[in-house]
């Protein structure tokens, strides 16, 4: 699929940059125009994503097979002729999607669009804000479509800076602290990733068809083929100490982003300080980059180590699920509570990943998508109340169901989706993750222990619901207007998606199964078969 000779993934990725340039040349005072431009650009991105949805072939697996990657665009990007000390460096502009990245592409487009709607009331330096938001959009989309590690890394870093400014300038009272914490933490992660990436680069060679030489490469698909590792290079072989080390580096780099305990403390701070729309993006898309990275890079490139580390991963998942839920229950700040609930829900993704089988993996990736939509709703809901009351203290409210019935209706859907009510999408992914994890004998006990999270989530969600919405009418907020059209416009599409995927998850699951089976195949082929029942 291409428009004006340029592939659809390039359009998806760089459309926001075009929008950003457009926003930057607009006169400073034209706030309305800036907003509508940003909305149009992200809207167009959603349209493109929908077109991708309808043209996506669910039977093609991708993952380590370039032939079955879809919407591929490939060109040489940087080509430095042979230098005396590192040899020839060739970096490709290599984009493509498969069943793993496809849901993330849809999610990114959707959440960016919703974020622009949610940003409508920003009045401080709107131009800069929208420019940063659009740049962020490009960074996120790029991460999900890049198949060249260097390109992946560039997008990863591109995403970092606008996020820093968006929290640090447009955030709450402690924005400076939250922004620098986010920045340094992510930077630490990307340094570790960089280290592993360069180690991989020097260990892998591919045949250059034009010259017949073997050439180092950043091509991710090449890194997944053990045959491409140079004999005697740093990361050659299987299960070596260096491979463990590289896996660990990558894992920590991604774990910070997820965030996995104990690297999670930047998240509550960043969420509490960030403006609503930025929280939506942060929880909706950014967290998924961590788990996506593990699935895209750690698993297929180091399958034998991924297998060996299943139990520690499951233990981390358990900690995230239960510890996150318990921490959430203790919060007074509505937004902080939702932030900790993200920690808990991302734990379910990890549990599904640790399952090392199709149900678990599909549950994990589906949970990434569903958590994106559901948590986006939750943060929007907090935003609605904060805009009106200028407080997020959970004990300051009560009885909002009487004064704000529409708001309460939307909230009910989001809350029950978050606590995994069947009929809504969160349940399916949660159930599949558990279903998969339970089948893996190594982590069966941990899975059973993790089900505790199901009860705890219900408890803190319903307790929050009761404190804010039920009870006697609180006269202090008696005059608070119900949710308005713009806020509904951000929430209702997400609600519809949550419901539709809850009733018929195959809308998205069907396009994932081939890729997930392929990924499992790679991992299983690498070492002793993962314990699975007949």
């Amino acid at each position: 699929m291409a428009f004006f000779g340029i592939g659809v993934l390039t359009w998806l990725t760089f459309l926001p940059i075009l929008g950003m340039l457009l926003v930057l040349v607009l006169p400073k005072r034209s706030d309305e125009t800036i907003k509508w431009t940003a909305l149009a650009v992200t809207g167009l991105q959603v349209v493109l994503a929908i077109m991708v949805y309808f043209n996506f072939r669910p039977d093609l697996a991708g993952i380590n097979d370039a032939e079955s990657m879809q919407f591929v665009e490939r060109a040489v990007w940087i080509d430095i002729p042979s230098t005396s000390w590192v040899g020839r460096i060739q970096i490709e502009y290599f984009l493509g999607i498969d069943g793993l990245s496809f849901p993330m592409v849809l999610l990114t487009a959707l959440i960016s669009f919703i974020a622009v709607i949610a940003s409508w009331k920003i009045d401080k330096a709107l131009k800069g804000y929208m420019a940063m938001l659009l740049l962020l959009d490009t960074g996120m989309m790029g991460v999900f479509v890049a198949l060249d590690f260097f390109l992946f890394y560039v997008f990863w870093e591109v995403m970092l800076l606008p996020m820093y400014f968006l929290i640090g300038i447009w955030g709450g009272p402690r924005r400076e602290y939250a922004a620098i914490k986010f920045f340094l933490y992510t930077l630490l992660g990307s340094v570790l990733m960089l280290l592993a990436m360069i180690a991989l680069y020097f260990s892998v060679t591919v045949l250059d068809p034009s010259t017949g030489d073997r050439l180092h490469t950043f091509n991710m698909l090449a890194m997944m083929d053990p045959a491409n590792f140079v004999e005697g290079s740093l990361l050659a072989g299987a299960g070596t100490a260096f491979r463990q080390l590289a896996y660990l580096g990558l894992f920590i780099g991604f774990a910070i982003k997820v965030p996995i305990f104990p690297f999670h403390t930047w998240l509550p701070d960043a969420h509490v300080e960030a403006p609503t729309a930025i929280s939506v993006i942060l929880a909706g898309v950014l967290l998924k980059m961590g788990t996506y990275g593990i699935l895209r890079i750690c698993y297929p490139m180091f399958p034998e180590i991924a297998q060996a580390w299943v139990v520690p991963l499951a233990i981390l998942a358990f900690i995230n699920i239960v510890y996150g839920a318990l921490c959430a229950m203790a919060q007074q700040d509505f937004k902080k509570l939702i932030a900790y609930s993200s920690v808990s829900h991302m734990g379910i993704v990890l549990l599904g990943m640790a399952a090392m089988n199709t149900q678990g993996m599909m549950g994990a990736v589906f949970q990434m998508f569903n958590h994106g939509t559901i948590t986006a709703m939750l943060f929007l809901i907090v935003g609605v109340i904060y805009d009106r009351a200028h407080t997020r203290d959970l004990n300051a409210f009560g009885g909002l169901a009487l004064t704000m019935p529409k708001y309460t209706g939307v909230m009910t859907v989001a809350f029950f989706a978050a606590l995994g009510l069947p009929g809504l999408s969160g349940f399916i992914s949660e159930a599949f993750s558990f279903l998969g994890a339970f089948q893996n004998e190594q982590i069966r006990i941990i899975t059973i222990a993790s089900t505790l999270g199901i009860v705890l989530t219900a408890a803190y969600m319903l307790w929050t619901l009761q404190r804010v919405f039920l009870g006697q009418k609180n006269e202090k907020w008696g005059a608070m207007p119900d949710i308005d059209g713009r806020e509904l416009a951000a929430l209702v599409p997400l609600g519809i998606i949550v419901l539709a995927l809850g009733l018929y998850p195959s809308l998205l699951l069907s396009s994932m199964s081939a890729s997930m089976n392929q990924l499992i195949e790679i991992v299983r082929a690498a070492g002793p078969a993962v314990a699975m029942l007949p």
């Binding site: 203790a330 069947p422 006697q472 089976n517 499992i520």
Partner: protein, 754 residues
């Protein structure tokens, strides 16, 4: 009618209440009377289709199981397993056909009754919408042919009960009760979920038939009978939650906070019936051990709840505990192996319990109006001590209520006599077969208790002197829309309806024929009594059981009249004599207090501890690391002032390192055999080194660039404009430094690896 039509019709029956919910939740305000007629009409339509299905099923397809599946999720070609899908489907067998009718009778009559009872409610339209989704969820449980949809509907029932119990959410107690119901049920649901996980991990399907077939073929989870027992017990955990079995029964009495017709719906046909239905569904795969467990849980529930019911004064609370007790009966019945009897009692109990609740609703309604008339807002309209003598003022309510009470007490000519007697016979047979005599003893004792507390309720409410003559004068019989359902339920509590014969002492009839005890699929070594053995044993004990049960019931009734009507025994004096026991029963065995003190407060304490841990320790380390780095590179330090865990840990570690460094230095320099002076001298040297080292750590060794950080903070505070901030930030070097670091990193790594 052919099987396909039957299936389409049952699908329609399933979806009709859902349609009612969707229409009313969005548009009820646009309809006249907020759409109550629409919801009710839909419910009665569904009743009609349910009847058509049941009659067709029981006549034309008596011994067939009709089901259809639909692929829902496709996992593709799963490595190591092969192609795998999840199928959803519905099934019409005798069990689901009968249950369908039971649910729809209660649901439709509750709809009708609510038109009168809920008149003028603040959220009248929404109430009818919620009734719709409650009915839908329950029908989902009834019609499904797989564990997945069972679990889905199971949770949806939880949601519906949450919405309806919390209907008057302005009241703190109502929203508490709703929350409690959902969370307590979730605890049971998690057990059920794990049970389903075991089954799925073994069979890779959720559908009942293939799972049962596989068990029959000898394929059991993890190759061990213990796992099969565990799967059965875990699935039963769901029933413990929904059917309010000990120890998860605590939500049900609180659920009385919902409107009374909702209580009728919850207690008779939906929700609590779901658990018993689940046990009936999975009966064939339960091992002897699992059944034993179930029997004991049921017996404990029946006993505990019956004792509590004696001491309650709230009309709805008494009925609530009687429900818990009767549910215990049903579960015990299934547990001992009396499959037909357990489900029979579920069906008959649904009718008279719905009647009892609607009858109590009628009383409360009348009391409420009388109190309102007298401008009395302090008297509790639900307390039976405030009633008395209502018999003459509310004849229809009284006579129907009496019929239900006779039925629940197990008096001949009622349906309750037949089903209860079957269960009691089952417990005797169980005692015979296994030697567990405690089960039949508890069962018969509870039969007497039930008759006693139910007649206590009737006497205090309808007989005797009124608590207040003026109030009695203002009491009126409820409107037709409320009394007609009462009459219908009373008619359905007559024995002949359930047997189709005129022998009031025999349960044999269309019902028992439709619900024969299924052959177990469990390996013989783990199975309970076979059908032949069971039939033989229960046949022998049937006569004694009937005589015994009649003796127990009549004793209970006579005792109730002696104490509360003729007042030959002074109830207050008895209470005074047994004060501690009475307090114990009034306080419901202190279950709520126990759970509050342990589970709830324990969890809350853990959450607070974890919050502290997260903010102080985990984040303290993060901030501590940042602070040392700043201290070391920028020469700034406020570690002591911060006093956080991280900074203290830092100082401890650096202190130890410094001491170690001093010791290494001193010991390496000192001669092997030092004099005292040398020892002193080198000791001082070591200490000095350690101190210096610690001081260096503490104050930091750098002073690399103080101005960068300060300058940044000031700049941000000063300039709000975006461009200004960004360009200045870049000028101050943070971003430049960052980019430079990344570039440097790339180069260093390149060189290193190369």
């Amino acid at each position: 009618m052919n099987p396909e039509t039957l299936l389409s019709l049952s699908l329609a029956t399933l979806l009709l209440p859902l349609a009612s919910f969707v229409i009313l939740i969005f548009f009820s305000r646009r309809f006249p009377r907020q759409g109550d007629w629409l919801g009710t009409a839909i419910a009665f339509t569904a009743l009609a289709t349910a009847l058509a299905i049941a009659i067709t099923k029981l006549t034309a397809f008596h011994d067939e199981v009709i089901q259809a599946n639909l692929p829902w999720v496709d996992f593709g070609n799963v490595p190591g397993v092969g192609p795998l899908t999840i199928q959803l489907g519905i099934m019409v067998d005798n069990l689901s056909a009968i249950m369908l009718v039971v649910v729809m009778i209660v649901s439709s009559l509750v709809h009708l009754f609510s038109i009168g009872y809920m008149q003028g409610d603040v959220r009248y339209g929404r109430y009818f919408a919620y009734l719709g989704i409650f009915t839908f969820s329950m029908l989902g449980i009834v019609l499904t042919n797989n564990f997945f949809m069972m679990y889905v509907s199971w949770e949806l029932v939880g949601l519906s009960s949450y919405l309806l119990i919390g209907h008057w959410f302005e009241k703190r107690s109502a929203s508490d009760a709703a929350k409690k119901a959902f969370i307590v049920n979730r605890v049971g649901d998690v057990g059920m979920f794990i049970g389903i996980l075991i089954l799925y991990a073994t069979y890779h399907t959720f559908t009942f038939d293939p799972i049962f077939a596989a068990i029959r073929a000898g394929q059991i989870p993890m190759g061990s009978e213990a796992w099969l027992t565990a799967a059965g017990i875990l699935v039963f955990c769901g029933a413990v939650g929904k059917s309010a079995q000990f120890p998860l029964h605590v939500w049900l009495p609180d659920a009385m906070e919902g409107p009374t017709p909702v209580s009728a719906l919850i207690h008779a046909a939906t929700m609590v019936a779901a658990g018993v239905y689940l046990v009936t569904r999975t009966f064939a795969m339960l091992t002897a051990d699992a059944l034993m467990f179930i029997a004991y849980i049921g017996a404990a529930t029946a006993f505990i709840a019956a004792t509590i019911a004696i001491a309650q004064n709230d009309i709805k609370k008494v009925l609530a505990y009687s429900t818990v007790s009767q549910l215990g009966y049903m579960v015990m019945g299934l547990g001992v192996g009396a499959y037909t009897a357990g489900f029979f009692h579920l069906s008959t109990h649904a009718m008279f319990k719905a009647g009892l609740f609607l009858g109590s609703g009628s009383v409360i309604h009348a009391m409420h109006h009388a109190l309102h008339h007298a401008h009395d807002h302090h008297t509790d309209p639900q307390d039976i001590r405030n009633m008395g003598g209502l018999r003459t003022k509310m004849p229809v309510t009284f006579w129907t209520f009496l019929i239900y009470t006779l039925a629940i007490s197990g008096i001949p000519l009622t349906s309750g006599f037949l089903s209860k007697d079957e269960i009691l016979a089952g417990t005797l047979a169980f005692g015979d077969l296994t030697g567990h005599a405690i089960i039949p003893i508890v069962a018969f004792f509870v039969a007497g208790l039930t008759a006693f507390y139910m007649f206590r309720l009737v006497i205090l409410t309808f007989f005797g002197k009124p608590a207040d003559e003026h109030r009695l004068a203002a009491i009126h019989e409820s409107p037709k829309v409320m009394t007609v359902p009462l009459i219908v339920f009373a008619a359905l509590s007559v024995f002949a309806v359930w047997t189709g014969s005129f022998n009031p002492f025999s349960a044999e009839g269309w019902f028992t024929e439709a619900m024969p005890r299924p052959e177990t699929v469990v390996p013989a070594s783990a199975a309970a009594a076979t059908n032949e053995v069971w039939a033989e044993t229960s046949h022998h004990v049937h006569g004694p059981a009937m005589v015994l049960s009649l003796i127990m019931a009549s004793t209970g009734i006579v005792l109730a009249f002696v104490v509360f009507y003729w007042k030959r025994i002074n109830a207050d004096a008895v209470v005074a004599r047994l004060k501690p026991l009475h307090t114990f029963l009034v306080n419901k065995w202190y279950f709520d207090e126990l759970y509050d003190a342990t589970v709830i407060n324990g969890t809350l304490a853990v959450t607070r501890a974890y919050r502290w841990f997260d903010e102080t320790v985990v984040d303290g380390i993060v901030n501590g690391v940042a602070r040392w780095t700043m201290g070391v590179t920028l020469g700034k330090n406020d570690a002591w002032e911060g006093g956080t865990f991280g900074s203290i840990a830092y100082l401890l570690v650096t202190g130890l390192v410094s001491v170690y460094a001093g010791w290494v230095l001193a010991s390496s320099l000192a001669p092997a055999d030092p004099t005292f002076g040398q020892l002193l001298w080198y000791g001082l040297l070591g200490l000095g080194t350690a101190g210096l080292s610690f001081f260096m750590f503490y104050v930091g060794v750098g002073g690399f660039d103080n101005t960068i950080v300060d300058g940044l903070v000031n700049l941000v505070a000063t300039f709000a404009g975006f461009t200004g901030i960004v360009t200045r930030r870049i000028q101050t070097g943070k971003v430049q430094t960052y980019l430079a670091f990344v570039l440097l990193g790339v180069m260093v790594f390149f060189l290193w690896f190369n």
